[in-house]
Symmetry: C2
């Protein structure tokens, strides 16, 4: 794709995102891990920018990574792109080198988005649904992931071993909204007594330098959730049924 | 994972699949492209094998690739595993080398499964739903994919260029069931006059040596679909609402 003059004048790496979007947080964390400077372009809820609509015309969703003007959409696709482009110069690898270990992380990453994302929006009240069922779905997912952590980490700090990797980023990005969802719905899903490994991992993930700066505080997410529901209702886009 | 004696005695590469499964067809095509011999293990609808339940305990679904006894599940994860393990010895690459081109194929592959799979099962009557809406959804997807083909193929035969690649396999695996769905629902979605590029691509894909042997005939899929619906009804698993 040819870059326009305007695009060439912009920063080499830009992220069309939102401070509260867990999908976008994945991109910020990956770029920080790789030590890549980027320009952050904040989208406003309910008012998509021309740049977003042009860059992701199919889904019209954040995040989009713009690399020398070329758009890459879908958070997991972006993570792999970042890992492949910034693969040398001592940058830590996001996916492991071993094909089997890569397949295990890709499998669980897809599982996380299939199970935790839909349940999380129900717990947050963004989509009406059975909150007990949603909490049970997250609980079952965490049971699987607690086991997966033991197998993947092999006694180390992260799913990716000594360093934050692909599955750490994909699951970790949900943590902020999971805490907010627990507060909004008045339930506890990531319970230390039931998920000791994941709870300790979550604390380590939160404390990591690449995460600390971009992971929003729970209170702010709870406030943002109210705002989001209001915007959806005002636009007639609130989904009252799953 | 340690392999048991039994597993070590088995073929190095096995696929737990089904002749009619479009997700499993992806795996056969990829292995044939790479020139990898494999043992095919046919699952019976409605009666999952112990090996499947043990190899994919989370989803309990085909396909599963067993490589020296190690299980890899989820078709797109398997395709990338195959590409990474059999990467040399003149084996054709499934994903391109360029990170941007890889991201484009991954983006569209996810789009195909998000849009075409759910609509296809409605057209086939496996899940009750609005058939006109489903046909319209496939139609919109094909419009996007017709454009994507022109951009990806750059005048060559496949999305992957001169050779069948990741997106070719992911979209191409749907073709058999799309033809069957057209016959079952009495609609035409992949219309040559509207999608000249995709129609010509589909003919080339079907004629490819790696595809011909494993892509079922439309009549057989139509028959299998009736059998599948009967099994689902007998087991009380027929989903009357989406």
């Amino acid at each position: 794709m040819a870059s326009s003059g305007e695009e060439q004048a912009a920063a080499a790496v830009r992220v069309i995102g939102g401070w509260a979007s867990h999908y976008a947080i994945r991109v910020y964390v990956a770029l920080k891990l790789k030590g890549v400077e980027y320009e952050f372009l904040q989208e406003v809820v309910g008012n998509k920018s021309e740049l977003l609509l042009k860059s992701n015309p199919v889904h019209k969703k954040i995040p989009v990574l713009l690399h020398h003007g070329k758009p890459i959409a879908e958070s997991m696709v972006i993570l792999q792109y970042i890992d492949e482009v910034w693969a040398s110069d001592g940058a830590p690898a996001i996916l492991p080198a071993d094909p089997y270990a890569r397949s295990v992380e890709r499998f669980w990453a897809q599982y996380v988005d299939d199970k935790i994302s839909p349940a999380s929006v129900v717990l947050r009240g963004v989509i009406n649904g059975d909150k007990n069922e949603a909490a049970a779905q997250v609980y079952t997912a965490l049971q699987h992931l607690e086991e997966a952590f033991v197998k993947c980490s092999q006694g180390k700090s992260y799913f990716g071993g000594d360093n934050i990797g692909f599955l750490d980023i994909v699951l970790g990005s949900h943590l902020g909204w999971l805490k907010a969802a627990e507060e909004i719905a008045g339930v506890k899903v990531l319970d230390e007594s039931k998920f000791p490994e994941l709870t300790a991992w979550a604390d380590r993930f939160y404390a990591h330098h690449a995460v600390r700066e971009v992971m929003p505080e729970t209170d702010k997410l709870v406030q943002f959730n109210k705002h989001l529901i209001n915007v959806l209702k005002a636009k007639g886009m609130f989904r009252s049924h799953v």
